[in-house]
Symmetry: C2
Subunit: 413 residues, 2 copies
Amino acid sequence: MPLQPKRTVSELKELRALTGNADGAQRVAFTPTWIAARDFLKSKLEGLPVETTQDQAGNLWITLRGESDQELWIGGHLDSVPNGGWLDGCLNVLAGLEVLRRISKEYNGKPPLTVRLVDWADEEGARFGRSLFGSSAVSGFFDPEDLKQRTDKDGLRLEDVVKAHGIDLNTALEAGQAKAKAAAYLELHIEQGPVLEALGLPLGVVLGTKGVERHGIVFHGQEAHSGSTPMRARRDALGAAAKLSLEIREIAKQHSDAVCTVGSVKTFPGIVTAVVGRCEMTLDQRDLDAKVLGGMLQAAKSASEKFALEEGCTVQWNKIWSIEPIPFHPHLIELCDQAILETCSVSHKLPSGPLHDAAEIARVGIPTVMMFVQSLRGISHNKIEDTLEQHLELCVTAFDKLASKTLDWLQKP
Amino acid sequence: MPLQPKRTVSELKELRALTGNADGAQRVAFTPTWIAARDFLKSKLEGLPVETTQDQAGNLWITLRGESDQELWIGGHLDSVPNGGWLDGCLNVLAGLEVLRRISKEYNGKPPLTVRLVDWADEEGARFGRSLFGSSAVSGFFDPEDLKQRTDKDGLRLEDVVKAHGIDLNTALEAGQAKAKAAAYLELHIEQGPVLEALGLPLGVVLGTKGVERHGIVFHGQEAHSGSTPMRARRDALGAAAKLSLEIREIAKQHSDAVCTVGSVKTFPGIVTAVVGRCEMTLDQRDLDAKVLGGMLQAAKSASEKFALEEGCTVQWNKIWSIEPIPFHPHLIELCDQAILETCSVSHKLPSGPLHDAAEIARVGIPTVMMFVQSLRGISHNKIEDTLEQHLELCVTAFDKLASKTLDWLQKP
């Protein structure tokens, strides 16, 4: 049997036993457990005619040389958050390994194009708060000066920690030279959301990653005694924040796949006997359509000003971070849809709310697509993260079909 | 001139210079600055035919013996919060001193009833979190075992700290024996709220202290990724809390003097990228009418259950503290109203949202009333706390008239 999806499931379990504990996966980037995961991957390469190299940004490349210099990339990440799940990131790598084995066997070690499996370094950014470390060094959206400022919770500097893993921040961007030969990029991932499960579908085609607008909002009213201040005399900062918390949900619901979230509310002085004088909140808005995203941001700003006025407050916005929507490649989306239909007869197209390494690769113009497999209960970044084994097997099969179709497409004149 | 209201203003300024600094009043109970304030008060008693004693709970009593054993009490508190205002509590004591001087002079040191000025110990509870320390020992609503558990922020035990001031928690309740002879209790206070200022009135009669229901409320939903979780799939604990924060204001507005406040909201995990899985909030509800207060609590509970259901959450309530409404004495309310009308031609009756020592005395059946003088901007517990000097003088005059009327009333057969 050329492709053995059951082997991928079995290797995922091996990796879980090696790098997880009762609290979940512990493959945090730049730790000994992460190295153990990479050593596990390397141990699975014996007998495969591949070269293994680490680039200037710490990404691990497994290269099967083909007839052409043109490269098909297949990627994932072995690193996890602390107490993470057994599938997030490493499913992609181990499924990619199985696809590499199949291609190597089918073409007797010499496929028409070069095929490279990449394990991106520190996708999660769990330790230093900077996700997509390795893939952004390749895309070029990587700022060594920003990274030099970062430390972990123990005060260790990112710069020193990565140096021990052979990475010099000053030269990490040289990893981007690899882009020149990349013809396409494919990534498989668990959905990490509830959409496919709710539809009863095992697999989906990812249309792209949503753009994100992330802002801090502060309402200033007047702290006042909860006993002596009549309702009509109050300038209640929480009142304005509560109205906005509810309104941003209505704003999101006007667009089919958009999401808007207030994840944090902080009240000051924050005591039972005082009307809230200052209320800080965060807003996270996402959509695949840049116009929709921009409209939602404007709607939230207008609403915040209206509510501030109603409550006798003032409002300030501070941008935390934003990224534009990154749509995937139209033809690869069609190939992915076909691969899924051929595997399980039913497919679904959906955007990705979370970012992925694929977004870094797509944003520099390399044709890219992702495939999602159903997540049980939509839960990820948690030890209870899970996917049915039959769905794991299906996704390896479908992802392999996608790789085949992509190789065929890339060979066309 | 028998009564000299300007002297009270001048003594308040002396006390401010002696016990305040650039950050405000620093007369925290059981500190050297508080002792300095009490020494200042004692220094003002020279020439007055009074006895000065400290009771078992640390209250300072200045007694002008009269023809009868029956006692008229006039009270206040010299202690302040840290960085407090120059009037809160000590206006009452120094105005009471001026009234005592007038009565002593009018009756040649022997009024028809015994008149006692009391400086209650630790009204604010700023250091150990237990307000109304001295007056509650007199009323009997004082739990030595609870107090023995309390420490200040430096870890010093309340029991040890008060012992250095001559107070043994095991015998403090003996201060309550004084109640037997009390015929009435009068207290003057700054309003600490914006009502009189908004009405353009200097003085008001206090109808009683509002009952308080204070509760913690927790909504449990489901933490979820802000990017991958569609709006319709969310169980947003903040959504339920925001709805309740707004609804409790509508509940309060259905009753003329009621107040309802959400002073604290805490979100968990409280990060920009997660839907709120758990939201903790506090509720403080106050009204002078026990039925209204009970109805507001029930309405808030019903609303919380409705919103929990709408948001797919559960809700839990935990009582923090409550006290019943404490109405003041109907006839003393009328006498206070007359005293104000005779002083400045216009009066207003209002409940007190904050608690006061007067509530402890009223709740054990001693006829009690309070008079409020306007607070500028409604602000207290802050160095900018202030009242117009002309209003301070008016309040001393009106409070003295109230004392006269009360003495007359108590002498009637």
